[in-house]
Amino acid sequence: MTAISIRNLSKSFGKKRALDNVSLDIQRGEMVALIGASGSGKSTLIRHICGLEIGQAGQSTVEVLGSSIQHGGRLATKARDMRRNIGVVFQQFNLVGRLSVLSNVLLGNLGRIPVWRGTLGWFTAEEKKAARAALARVGIPEVAWQRASTLSGGQQQRAAIARTLVQRSNILLADEPIASLDPSSARRIMEILAAVNREENITCVVSLHQVEYARRYCPRTVALRDGRIVFDGPSSELTNPMLVELYGANSEELILPEALPQPAKPKRVAEPERVPAFA
């Protein structure tokens, strides 16, 4: 079954063409990496899928789980309802800094519970339990009562993932989730995303800056350049020489100077085991 179906999507910001006639299908349960240099349209594409950005008028359609979220440059009226099935993780985590971590995670319920209850911030004991379980799942149960702004970048991103777990969405879009993180946090976030994809069968679309992460965690890679899809296939086929061919001098920023170890089992020498749920 198709989870995301995009047809003829274009978008310009001023003179810059951010997306140029993009068509793409993603099946349920897939884990797909979006690869490209800065400004290649990865974030713009993800923001169109969840309806945070509207494409240009024309024959463009974005369908999620079989119903259209935007068509011909207009947001569907039921977009707000549809968003509950689309969890989004952002590069800058986008938590509400002055609220506690637990409150931030509970906000994932807003699309699911009655509007009056959500607006007043009344969450049931079960919802709170689920939120705490989600925090435990991403490995940070101890920070539930801290203000979100006091967490480290990696912890904030895990809390943001916990928010989407509480949302119980079928699709998880991650817009450069590891671009602002140190390598060990980045690996942990990717492992959590891969586990969510594997265990809950949630469709994951992750935009990434470095092709190594795509090769290790995502079976399929879609590569963008100047708003066009230039590669779509198994990540293993995307070799470094091919990247150089696709991106020329810009390919340098896609390849880590020291490549990650290729085998699927990551090295865990210095890291303490803090994610027992899927070790």
Binding site: G87, L95, V96, G97, R98, L99, L110, R163
Partner: protein, 272 residues
């Protein structure tokens, strides 16, 4: 890729950083405009009379000497009236802060569409640009002489000010958490409640406290037109040439305003 092609792309990718002439022209133009405006306002504002400040300073000294010996014999009465003034300011500010929340959000460009923002802003402009005294006179006609007219006057005027300050705080928020809340499928009101309000709350509190301080001062002035409190007593004694009593009241007002200032500074620290 051969060597010449590589250097060519490198040069194309690095255009020279040029001086932005239009920007520096703007800076100069704004300073010159300020200068012209100041010169234009000089005679209408009768700024040429500044010499009198020196030549006739004796008159001021003579008038001020009437206030040299404060008479505190009726201090209990003054303190009671001072408290009434504070109570007027408290209610006026509280009502204004409550009403300014929806108006402030509705006049923020990043939250409401322009056809809501513009009318709400003009309404708030009207509340703000008309002085408390004018409103007080209006309310005295309706609800009679006394503190309640003062409360209503402060309420209307302060709503205009706080709504503007609140909306500026809302316009300066980080839009990213709001977007994240929208992505959960939340309603527009929920976006504001959970995305906007937590971000602006400390600033809103601090603005409301600051307006409370200002309103204590404003409430004393409202006494002139009979809106009660220490202002009324003060102006009555000045009109009757009871300068020692007036002087005592001024000192009590000064001390009270300073105390409130200190207190609200401490409170604001708690919120930030």
């Amino acid at each position: 890729m051969d060597q010449t092609a590589k250097t060519a792309t490198a040069q194309a990718a690095r255009p020279e950083v040029e001086r932005d002439w239009s920007r520096s022209a703007w800076t100069w133009a704004s300073w010159i405009t300020l200068g012209i405006l100041l010169i234009w306002s000089w005679s209408p504002a009768e700024m040429f009379r500044w010499t009198f400040l020196v030549s006739d300073a004796g008159n001021m000294a003579e008038y001020a000497s009437g206030f040299a010996r404060p008479d505190f014999s009726q201090w209990r009465y003054y303190i009671d009236e001072m408290l009434v003034t504070i109570q007027i300011a408290l209610w006026g500010t509280f009502l204004a802060a409550v009403v300014a929340v929806p108006f402030g959000i509705l006049s923020a460009r990043n939250i409401a569409p322009w056809y809501v923002v513009q009318p709400v802003r003009r309404l708030m402009d009207a509340c703000r640009s008309i002085h408390e005294l004018v409103f007080a006179v209006l309310f005295v006609v309706a609800v009679g002489l006394g503190p309640f007219a003062g409360v209503m006057a402060l309420f209307v005027h302060t709503t205009g000010i706080l709504a503007k300050l609140f909306s500026e705080a809302v316009e300066a928020i980080d839009a990213r958490p709001v977007e994240a809340i929208r992505a959960t499928g939340a309603s527009r009101l929920q976006e504001v409640v959970f995305g906007v309000v937590p971000q602006v709350m400390p600033l809103w509190m601090s603005y409301a406290l600051y307006r409370f301080e200002s309103n204590v001062r404003a409430a004393t002035v409202l006494g002139v037109i009979g809106a009660g409190g220490i202002g009324q007593v003060l102006f009555e004694s000045i009109r009757g040439f009871y300068y020692p009593q007036a002087s005592a009241m001024l000192i009590i007002m000064l001390v009270t305003v300073s105390l409130i200032d200190l207190l609200s500074q401490q409170l604001r620290k708690l919120f930030l």
